[in-house]
Amino acid sequence: MKRFLLPLAAFAVLVGFLAMGLMHDPREVPSPLIGKPAPAFTLPQLHDATKNFSVVDMKGRVWLLNVWASWCVSCREEHPVLVELAKTGSVPVIGLDYKDQVADGKQWLEKLGNPYILSVVDSDGRVGIDYGVYGVPETYVIDKQGIIRMKHTGPITPASLAQTILPLVKELSQ
């Protein structure tokens, strides 16, 4: 019996590692931008191309930057959560319409509701690259000093909002 103990232990360790691998979402890549200033950009607004928006405009406020697009399927899943969040008014959300047509973006918001205080158009995705966007939707929590405090990759769920994003926003707002 004793001679099986060692292989069994080794096997258990291997199973442990594999189980950890299964539990881990490989799409969740830690962002190097956390704790760093949000990359500056100035982009035209979706609903009024003559007006611009810059990151510095939000200085002194805790806010969310939500990267979305009308072509993005998971954004559809996320959208009702954002609409609900906008109703509570607990945190301002700026939309970054990523690699999208202005007309499509506008139509999408008209149909599904507009949770954003404003959206900006990143038509060639250049700002997206600066933010390390690789899978829309993505959401950044940015503090009063303009530092990125958190990045959420993939659609926000009511659970992730209640358990991680909103508590962080509350903490940062104090």
Binding site: V29, D124, R126, G128, I129, D130, G132
Partner: protein
């Protein structure tokens, strides 16, 4: 045979269309080669098992465009890789740098090798110990010699 000029026109016209589309290759070739060399070092984050050079994802296209732009601007390879790491983290590098968070990644195989060799040596030694017979006593040696003599005759 009357139609010849017509065919000729069509052939010439299409070749002219292509000529208008093709980018100036001679100037771009060096840039393109460097771009491919750099993007082979980078992982595409959309389809994580493909390099940036091989990926057809939209983001990979954009990033290749950015790399091309930076090469034209005269950035070094190091600067371009740093640009990518600053945005997407060490994960984009197929050869991540050796530092405190990656030493297990780099050292892991060697640790496993040492553990494996140690185990092998341990078991081989134990087996040798079990196999080595106790030396014959003087009495046993005499008896063995006697038996061998007997069989000779």
């Amino acid at each position: 045979m009357k139609r010849w000029p017509g065919y000729l026109f069509i052939v010439l016209a299409t070749s002219m269309v292509f000529a208008a589309d093709a980018p100036p290759l001679a100037a771009d070739e060096i840039v393109e080669k460097r771009m491919v060399a750099i993007s082979e070092e980078l992982r595409c984050l959309v389809c994580q098992n493909e390099s940036l050079a091989a990926s057809r994802a939209d983001l990979a296209n954009d990033l290749r465009r950015e790399i091309r732009k930076m090469i034209v601007q005269g950035k070094t390879d190091r600067e371009i890789l740093d640009f990518m790491v600053a945005r997407y983290g060490d994960f984009v590098l197929y050869r991540p740098p050796v530092k405190s968070t990656t030493w297990l990644l780099w050292g892991g195989p060697f640790i496993l090798l040492v553990v494996g060799l140690g185990t092998l040596v341990f078991f081989l030694r134990r087996r040798n110990r079990n196999m080595s017979m106790p030396a014959l006593s003087e009495e046993q040696r005499r008896r063995a010699a006697a038996l061998l003599d007997q069989s000779d005759t």
